[in-house]
Symmetry: C2
Subunit: 244 residues, 2 copies
């Protein structure tokens, strides 16, 4: 039998942010020390104040930091989980585990959207879902600064990967970038087309060059012996550039 007692530190009793302390305790598994770091992690740039010319107190810097901590923790996890897989496999797995879409999903599962401060009038149509993923990354940055690498690692392993990431799905699922791109472009009501601009005549040495155009402007080009693969490559490039 195990009995776990979460002692509530004195600072929590006397904090004006007692409620936030308690809510974060439920998400993190521990009481934050420096609560202002977490408040910053949830502050979208649309509500941030300028603290110095050109610099706002938004979560964007924490997001930069948290993003690389997640990258390291996931690299370490994959390195140890798959001792007989090469670095190509590890790289591919990581990019699926830390994708924007995955981070948005994780943020919603943790319920971070309830904490995010943003000025909704600033968004023309819909609030972008990336706001959630960004807050998740910033939260990891806050944990890292507040409690160190080990605690951030523990949180990611026990409360994210073990609980919210289906590793079998990650391993088997190939991302269909073309569909992803088309979905986005249709939602945004933009004109686009894929063009195969060059097919080598020689049948044994076929090479397809696919160009992706948005409003008649080339946004990317890719070449492959398979036309489908070339389309996927150029769409993947577009998805990364557009942060879809």
């Amino acid at each position: 039998m195990t009995l776990t007692i979460f002692k509530k530190p004195l600072r929590v009793h006397f904090s004006p942010e007692k409620k936030l302390h308690e809510s974060l305790r439920n998400i993190l598994g521990f009481y934050p020390v420096n609560i202002t770091l977490y408040q910053l992690a949830f502050r979208h740039s649309s509500v941030a104040q300028e603290i110095k010319k050109g610099v706002k107190d938004s979560n964007e810097r924490l997001e930069f930091l948290g993003d690389s901590i997640i990258g390291s923790v996931v690299a370490d996890y994959l390195f140890k989980k798959f001792p007989y897989k090469d670095e190509g496999f590890l790289t591919k797995m990581r990019s699926k585990m830390v994708s924007r879409a995955k981070h948005n999903q994780i943020a919603l599962k943790l319920g971070l959207n309830a904490f995010i401060e943003s000025n909704n009038d600033r968004f023309r149509v819909n609030k972008p879902s990336s706001i959630n993923g960004d807050a998740y990354e910033a939260l990891i940055g806050a944990i890292y600064l507040d409690k160190g690498y080990k605690q951030a690692q523990k949180f990611i392993l026990t409360r994210i990967i073990n609980v919210h990431i289906d590793m079998d799905e990650v391993e088997t699922k190939e991302i269909d970038f073309k569909s992803k791109f088309i979905e986005w472009v249709q939602k945004e009501k933009k004109e686009y087309r894929f063009e195969t601009i060059n097919e080598t005549a020689n049948a044994t040495d076929k090479l397809f060059t696919v160009q992706l155009l948005v409003y008649n402007e080339i946004v990317g080009t890719a070449q492959h012996i398979s036309k489908k693969r070339a389309e996927q490559m150029v769409a993947e490039h577009a998805c990364i550039t557009l942060e879809i």
Copy 2:
């Protein structure tokens, strides 16, 4: 007055790899615990044995791990060094500090090239300099696995950044990707050309589309209102793809 005594652990006295232990002590500032990790870090894939079908005991997996550890440590360093700079600045600084060229340079300054095992017959013309940078990244992976995040961080901060990276130079220097690409392409004796394929007629709304071709194949396209900038963009893309 400070007196630092490096105690030599018993395991070093009795190790068959005593010499490697001592050499690494000079580079790292501490004696390695698990020496096989460091031996692996210096083993290029050209001399690696197949340990399982399709998997070699080369340094490539450690390189994957070390690369992300370096990314995190540098992100943390920049976050704290520049409290009033935005994430765009931090991202740019980091990409210059962890570039392939920088890692090759660091490896040579540390003298890692003397430790690398590789089969030189495998390289057609010259040994690629990236072999050194790869070994540096793998070494960080080995330190991380051997001694943990904190020790890897300490090594990178005190023995790399403080000693071998000129931060003023990093901050002011813009990388000239076009020159970098041309230098490489001339060394490799490949045919290339930059083509401006489309100039918008309207003078107030000028947009240049620059294509980079190698042996008449498009390797990249970029658009910008400045032709020079478009050329830099397409060359940067090529440098990243070609890992120059």
